[in-house]
């Protein structure tokens, strides 16, 4: 909600408050990807790239393969919206499930 309303800085602070454990990393990763999308819409391309990098780092550390793939898919789809097709396809390569 914060990210969608344009308060991406507030949204990032909220993400930092999410309790630090591996299960929450999935939520943090997905929220970071959403924030990146909002940042991109707001014209903050650099912020969007940072958020996507952070989201990707969290996603790749997830032990649950399904969640990792779901988070990486979300990141790849946001990344292609930023115009970074090569980056998006690089994220896709990290997805384990073929289908």
């Amino acid at each position: 909600m914060q990210a969608e309303s344009g308060d991406t800085a507030g949204a990032l602070r909220t993400v930092a408050l999410i309790e630090k454990n591996k299960e929450d990393d999935y939520v943090r990763s997905m929220v970071q990807a959403s924030i990146a999308q909002a940042q991109m819409k707001g014209g903050d391309a650099n912020g969007a790239q940072k958020s996507l990098a952070s989201a990707r780092k969290l996603a790749t550390s997830l032990p649950d393969m399904d969640r990792r793939d779901a988070a990486l898919r979300q990141i790849a789809l946001v990344q292609v919206q930023t115009g970074d097709v090569a980056g998006s396809l690089a994220v896709v390569e990290q997805i384990d499930s073929v289908y």
């Binding site: 990486l72 898919r73 789809l77 097709v85 998006s88 396809l89 390569e93 384990d96 499930s97 073929v98």
Partner: protein
């Protein structure tokens, strides 16, 4: 999940005008059905963007008759909207999936009736008439 993400990326590329890139991304998809879906979506994007020739070329690459039929149906509708009824009929004739063929044929027949170029008795005899007067 990799395949469906590649499919969605390819569609996004097509929407951004990069059909060549979209086809390259589609080539990376291992699953043939997912590849057909991706090609169908790219063809639809092309058709809706007005590039009917490109859309038909892409539709020709689709292996799945079902997905190919869906793409060709959209292309035929676009041709009908553009007033190219002969082209639309040619596209309809390429559809092998009966469901999509019938729906597409109905669109073309309605357009022809409205244009006055098809009499109700003028349906091709091998084709079951798909229209009633309420369609007009």
């Amino acid at each position: 999940m990799k395949g469906e993400t590649q499919r969605d990326i390819a569609e996004a590329q097509a929407k951004n005008g990069d059909a060549t890139g979209a086809l390259k991304t589609t080539d990376m998809i291992i699953d043939n059905d997912m590849k057909s879906v991706a090609l169908s979506r790219i063809a639809v994007v092309q058709a809706k963007g007005g590039n009917v020739t490109g859309a038909l070329q892409i539709a020709d690459l689709i292996q799945s008759q079902d997905r190919r039929g869906a793409a060709l149906q959209t292309i035929a509708k676009r041709q009908t909207q553009n007033g190219n009824l002969d082209g639309a009929q040619n596209t309809v004739d390429l559809i092998l999936d009966v469901r999509y063929q019938k729906e597409a044929q109905q669109v073309v027949d309605v357009a022809r009736l409205k244009a006055g170029t098809l009499l109700l008795s003028g349906f091709k005899d091998w084709r079951t008439p798909t229209l009633t007067t309420k369609d007009l």
